[in-house]
Symmetry: C2
Subunit: 337 residues, 2 copies
């Protein structure tokens, strides 16, 4: 198997940087690495295991010779540039939402639906970070017992919005900190919000993305539509609520899962213990901080449903930049080798 | 109607202080005010609208002459001392969980089940703060269409754990702040946790209270059992998950509600707009920070269920120290006048 010429597109963003780190950590047969980004970041130099690499301007770069292009530069740039990479012979693994729901584009959570990657026409899509985290727990349980419905409330980290999200949290947390101890009596100076509809510093914002239909956000509809596609359950019932929390990295999901047949806690724990890419934490509660920097997605609070019996309530949390984005993209590249 | 002799027990805690503030703000016919607390806080002086009041030692105080005692000093102190206040002729309004599930103790969310307060034997219980917040939205919808099931994931502020929770968040947020921007690459110095099982600073902890049965926490079982008692639905189906978030004040709940008959968004908005004590926010997303210091509980993100139609997904958030605790206790006292 010959080594691959890899390009990371959007290499200076949070996910792009993580893609480079993950390529450095793993045994992917990388022959050469090119880094591309928007004109603004072009010319900067990134230190890598393979030496210093100058970032190229995506808009003028020649894709010739690239075998695998990992895109994480937003949907608009994916739509504008993925085609030329495919035409030049590359397989594009795209982290944006641009192509995820296209019928001829596989949507792959590695360790959940790897087989879907076998049939592609040059583009393979990487799912939404919250969906990915949920699928790591829901996928194995679906294979065991047939998933029928999902109620999911997310606890999403600001790095899911890229570096701007990180900056907004830091800025607002610093602005609110002096008045923090008196805030419980009401009254706080609005730190001003650029990215989110309300402040995220020492707050939670039950609205992620933008509204698309019936009051649901695009982030919530991704959870519905991408879950259905990944698990190949056209009529999967999903009730999604996506909430941003003042956490740097690590998306959590509290979920109620119901199946075609009853599943008890013992079976759920066994199924999840046997699954790849996840760790069941029984003695300690897994939190976003615990997940930061880990490849594994963490599952905890596995409980039998209290209302209608036979279902499972659980908590799942994973590093949104790693398994939720960059790691899964590199794992897709590994499937192609 | 003669003025009432009021005692606040646990007067130096977060909820007790808020009780005093709320008595100052409202038109309650207060004739005299006594403040009581543990030996440790006895002797301190609290400035109030009615002058400086020295805090008395609960363990040695004489309850004679008290008409209404607002207790918020923990379940153990309620169990030890409520009886002597009742024997002395007082009505005890208890914010602890000590008596909530007793058959002869009404559990009252004012504006939801006021009538329950009419028949008591000296003690009326104030519900759990998360349950209270949820009930403010679920109660009116139940009256309209018959509530059948609730799936609820909470986003609970640290002040729900009292002053210790506030101190833990402040201390950990300060400890994590210097490394915050590099935390997205993993690696963080554990700030040490005293109160919660994992750090709450820039993190969320999907575990509130202590484990009681089947992996559920007492906080989660309160949501189940208290909701059933307040709404008088013995077989209400509840799937509860309680999560602590790094927020000072304001408990949020993301919930999926299903009813005996279909409810659409238009009806839900109309019912909630007509209800007392809540505000429906349609143009802006209500957050914990927005709720801080407000009497009203805020409802937003009202959406038709996407899976099985006929239900409602919504977000509700309220100041856990006010409507979630102190305000409701004072409102119960007002019902008794």
């Amino acid at each position: 198997m010959s080594d691959k010429a890899v390009a990371v597109v959007g290499a200076t963003g949070s996910v792009g940087r993580t893609m480079v780190s993950i390529l450095e950590e793993r045994d992917y047969p990388l022959g050469s690495l090119r880094l591309l980004a928007s004109e603004r970041s072009a010319g900067s130099v990134v230190e890598t295991k393979w030496g210093s690499i100058e970032v190229e301007d995506l808009s003028t770069a020649d894709p010739t010779g690239v075998d695998v292009a990992l895109f994480s530069a937003g949907g608009e740039r994916s739509r504008a540039h993925a085609g030329s990479f495919v035409a030049a012979g590359a397989v594009v693994i795209d982290n944006s939402s641009a192509f995820r729901m296209d019928a001829n584009v596989p949507l792959v959570v590695v360790q959940v639906n790897d087989a879907a990657a076998e049939h592609h026409e040059g583009i393979i899509a990487n799912p939404n970070c919250t969906t990915m985290t949920l699928m790591m727990a829901a996928g194995p349980l679906h294979r065991a017992a047939g998933l029928r419905s999902v109620v999911a409330s997310s606890y999403q980290a600001v790095s899911g919005s890229g570096r701007q999200g990180v900056e907004e949290l830091v800025r607002q947390a610093d602005a609110l900190r002096p008045g923090l101890e008196t805030l419980i009596r009401g009254g706080w100076a609005d730190p001003g919000s650029k990215l989110y509809p309300r402040p995220i510093g020492f707050n939670v914002v039950p609205f992620a993305g933008s509204e698309v239909e019936g009051g649901y956000t695009d982030e919530e509809m991704k959870l519905v539509n991408e879950s259905r596609k990944i698990l190949e359950i056209d009529d999967l019932l999903v009730e999604p609520t996506c909430v941003r929390v003042p956490v740097m990295v690590g998306h959590g999901v509290s979920t109620t899962l119901r199946f075609e047949r009853p599943v008890d806690v013992e079976e759920a724990v066994e199924v999840l213990n046997d699954a790849s890419g996840i760790e069941v934490w029984s003695d300690q509660v897994p939190t976003p901080l615990d997940s930061a920097g880990l490849d594994a997605v963490l599952v905890g609070r596995i409980r039998a449903t209290l209302g209608e019996p036979g279902g499972i309530n659980l908590w799942v949390v994973g590093d949104n930049l790693r398994k939720g984005a960059a790691l899964n993209a590199v794992q897709i590249a590994e499937l192609l080798v």
